[in-house]
Symmetry: C2
Subunit: 221 residues, 2 copies
DNA sequence: GTCTATAAAGTGATAGAC
DNA sequence: GTCTATCACTTTATAGAC
């Protein structure tokens, strides 16, 4: 039922991409991201991981201390940049005289979409989707402690733009939108880019889809 | 980072519920559902599982053949009933002279909500959410082969009710709605029932929330 | 149908040579 | 900083007594 085989874990090209550049530490992080996305945190073993990264088994404990600390670093590497990007975009639009719901949603969605369209970044979005599904308290606490302020800032802005909604109603809708975005950005039902559409245009179209859906879901009467 | 400890895996009451009734086979299925929800398919071991179920370790292989076959049975037990229920509800409304989008969505959502509000059923919705996040081809093929016809029937009905949408546009929206529902039904952001609201009323309110959100997401211009 | 005992392989982590 | 070798433990699965 559940594949746990080793060989077909990564496409050949992907393995080369992962283990052929950067320091040992970077190669481990890259391989961890790919294998956690495919097999989960429990499913991916340090032996798979170090083989794909082309490093020695002991290197993980030397550079990170433990598997759990490695997991944490996989999250930090991407989320620090992603959420700084989000807050920077939010700051840009909040200062404007007439901020729209679209503007705020774009500040939240576009940075994530940009990440998910960069080859290795899309793997990370799958890791993130897994983390959501895990319901692991330790992991959730880590995310809340380190990145909770981002969500709070966006929620405050949504509340300002949707004053007709009660707090519970707003939280309800934000939660449903979050579910839709996580699902979409983890690369599940992402519409395939046609060959006559540029990467940039495709990202723009995808962003428009997501934002319009989110606007409808947040602001319906 | 990731909890793998054994003791606090289940609340005491839950363990009693799981292992105190039914045949050996049923007790194993119940414990598997609970532990797969909490620790994932890889994270939950047969030793945990048989201890919680109060049965012998060897009983899993005797009754199911292997861990993977057990996973399959955990899905079958709930999905057979859930999807039959959905199709029955769909058949009821499709025959009517003026079927609405709300009717069709209710036929899809209400059976899942009913399941997710029955104590052990809510654990299964979390198992299902995990399965989505897994991206495992074997698992996805199993779901598609056995229950794909249900989604196709609902999609056809959506297409009939939303003729202004192109096929890709419709698939996009259905996918985003699916993400929101999976997220919500896995018990993530479910609004807590207040003590002065009956279980039945709460389920009704939740259904209304989900359906209105889905209508807005599917039918916006 | 249930049990004990155990096989065979995998796991994370570490000690110590280089 | 990288390596080999290995420890201590857990995993799934099975053989064989009852």
């Amino acid at each position: 039922m559940l594949k746990r085989s080793f060989e077909p874990a990564c496409r050949p090209g992907m393995i080369l991409t992962v283990n052929s550049s950067g320091s040992t530490k970077e190669r481990i992080l890259g391989a961890a991201e790919a294998l956690f996305a495919q097999h989960g945190f429990d499913g991916a073993s340090l032996r798979q991981l170090t083989t794909v990264a082309g490093v020695n088994l002991a290197a993980v404990n030397y550079h990170f201390g433990s598997k759990d600390k490695l997991v944490e670093q996989v999250f930090r590497r991407r989320l620090d940049a992603l959420n700084q990007h989000r807050l920077a975009e939010l700051a840009k639009v909040v200062g404007q005289p007439q901020t729209t719901l679209e503007d705020v949603l774009a500040a939240y969605i576009r940075p994530a979409l940009e990440l998910s369209h960069d080859g290795n970044g899309s793997l990370f979005m799958r890791v993130l989707a897994r983390a959501f599904a895990e319901h692991d308290d330790t992991l959730r606490q880590f995310l809340s402690e380190n990145y909770g302020h981002v969500m709070r800032q966006f929620t405050a802005e949504f509340a300002r733009l949707l004053p007709q909604l009660s707090k519970p109603e707003l939280y309800w809708r934000i939660d449903l939108v979050t579910g839709a975005l996580t699902h979409a950005m983890s690369g599940f039902g992402m519409i395939q880019r046609k060959s006559d559409v540029s990467e940039h245009l495709h990202r723009e179209q995808t962003a428009q889809h997501l934002i319009r859906f989110a606007v409808a879901g947040l602001s319906h009467p």
